[in-house]
Symmetry: C2
DNA sequence: GTGAAAGCGCTAACAG
DNA sequence: CTGTTAGCGCTTTCAC
């Protein structure tokens, strides 16, 4: 078997060519290391000539620091998550960290994926889907690698978390709908065991009952457009129809709107529909969706800050941040007479 | 300064506890290595007790193989690319490789990003956006790390490439529109210097001129919904209007449809609109877009196969694969009388 | 089948 | 500032 990198050039080669010690070349690539300008230039010249680049794997082993962050994510295809991922990798890159992407799904469950990432010596983990098992939590803790959960909270688990105020956002939505005089409120849920879904439903129904209203109807979805479409069908083709519909995310809201129109209903004339997330498409003409905007930049920044801080300061106190969403009023829901929200 | 991983446990610790040599524990984790069952069990037990996991960074250094693949991508937020990324990471994981995500943009240009990835000793690179400079190509070549460009071709560059037959797809679209009796064909382009855009435009106009037609109008976009929306405005609010519109991707087609409706036009009654990609949304009720489906699974599989093969066989012959798209007929374009496409 | 030992490429004391 | 040296944790001959 041939060697893998017959062509790789190491710091020793550079040192030889430059006529300096190997340590000197290491130093030229270590910001802040003490080395004379003259020597540095010689090294750089030799490196240039040989096409030398430091081997980060070796450096990582020696420094015990890989500057790798594991990002675990399911549903990368979902526009909301895709945006999240893009934002994460950008912000991490800005801070000199790199993203090791762990795409979890049925094949690769989180409990299998995480140990793998850990073997790559990731220095931190951001979890954007699924939640950790307690054994995994303690595993990470033992290894001293900080974890922050994004947009999902768990009181039982001793893990950092940053996310949007889902309950609060849902409350704003309920409030708007109530003030506009709606009477029969329906909800299409996301995946039932997601913390996101629980909170959004809770916020919505709580605000409702604060005002003496109860949920008129409820259907289950799974955050996909299709599930919104079919759930709306079940919801709207029965006798008594709701006049306000909150879908646990925008994608389902768009599906629901399409279904409603299919059934000959006007949105918002006959039915007000609101969503959650404010994905790019929510602003499109066809939907013009009233929704809660999750402050993506702030959320991701906060997550990255918590993570990096935990890594670099080695603080181990748990931090939880919840960041308010912003009500974005468009045309998919009837408005109160006097707008003073 | 404290050590980074005070808690990390190495194969030596395991060996000590198990009462075997360090080599034995290494062998335990090396499939095919010769070690007795008895010894292996002892090692496994000790490892379990200590929570030992092999350090892949150290293994990578020793084996000179990281099983890391660099995926460079811009516009992760674009639904088409998001899907691509999801598929890539899944297929790579299935083959035991991990994805190092390089999010390129204005801040981090490709020529800066790539050397970084190379320093991480990625064993291969898939490029889904931008194209390589020749110096980068030779850089990768020297380092013996194979590159495959996804959905972009370049004859000058000596690089592997896998992609959809954009020209062929565009030709099918033109064909369909011609057969349906359209007269005035318009095109909204994607980013002008993308090879994707060039090929789609070329295929479209060539098929047109085969039939004695010329492009009636042309506007430029950048693949975003918004650019389709505004380009359609310029296109449709002038005097002579096109009756058929090909947009370089679905997103722009959806923007164009929304704009057309805004202007009181019927789609496809007054204007047929077709796109390219077949993103999930193209199937949604509001758009029901006739388009070319890029065979995602096949494209990604082929790309991964080419890459992995190049890595594992160390073949260095250039391979180029172009895979046909599939015409998906929906309702956004008028159809020929007799359907026999 | 097994242990000893020599690396992999780089960093970081440690003495000059 | 600089070279020498001892690792980082694992793999892989090489003798036994």
């Amino acid at each position: 078997m041939k060697t893998k990198y017959p062509d790789s050039v190491s710091s020793i080669d550079v040192a030889r060519l430059a006529g300096v010690s190997q340590a000197a070349v290491s130093r030229t690539y270590t910001p802040g290391a003490s080395i004379s300008d003259k020597k540095r230039r010689k090294v750089l010249a030799a490196a240039e000539q040989l096409g030398y680049q430091p081997n980060i794997i070796a450096r990582s082993l020696s420094r015990r620091s890989t500057r790798l962050i594991g990002i675990v994510m399911a549903k990368i295809g979902d526009p909301f998550y895709a945006k999240i991922l893009a934002t994460f990798s950008r912000k991490l890159q800005d801070k000199g960290y790199w993203s090791l992407l762990l795409n979890v799904n049925d094949d690769l469950a989180l409990d299998d994926a995480l140990p793998q990432a850990l073997q790559y010596q990731v220095e931190g983990i951001v979890l954007t889907s699924a939640t950790l098992s307690t054994t995994m939590v303690s595993h990470c803790k033992n290894l001293n690698v900080p974890v922050v959960m994004f947009n999902r909270f768990s009181w039982e688990l001793d893990v950092n978390a940053v996310g949007c105020d889902h309950a609060g956002g849902a409350r704003m939505l309920a409030d708007l709908l109530i003030k506009a005089g709606h009477e029969r409120f329906a909800y299409i849920s996301g995946e039932k065991d997601s913390s996101t879904n629980r909170e959004r439903e809770k916020g919505f129904t709580e605000r409702l009952s604060d005002d003496g209203h109860a949920l008129f109807a409820r259907e289950s979805g799974d955050y996909s457009y299709e599930s919104g479409f079919t759930a709306a069908d079940r919801l709207l083709s029965t006798n008594g129809q709701p006049d306000a519909l909150f879908c646990a995310n925008d994608l389902m809201a768009m599906g629901a709107i399409d279904q409603a129109r299919e059934l000959g209903l006007q949105v918002p004339g006959d039915l007000s529909v609101v969503g959650f997330d404010d994905v790019a498409m929510a602003a499109w003409e066809q939907y013009s969706l009233t929704t809660i905007q999750q402050p993506m930049e702030r959320l991701v920044s906060a997550t990255v800050d918590v993570l990096i801080n935990a890594i670099e300061s080695r603080e181990m106190e748990r931090v939880i941040k919840v960041i308010p969403g912003r009500l974005v009023i468009r045309d998919s829901a009837r408005l109160p007479e006097k707008i003073n929200i």
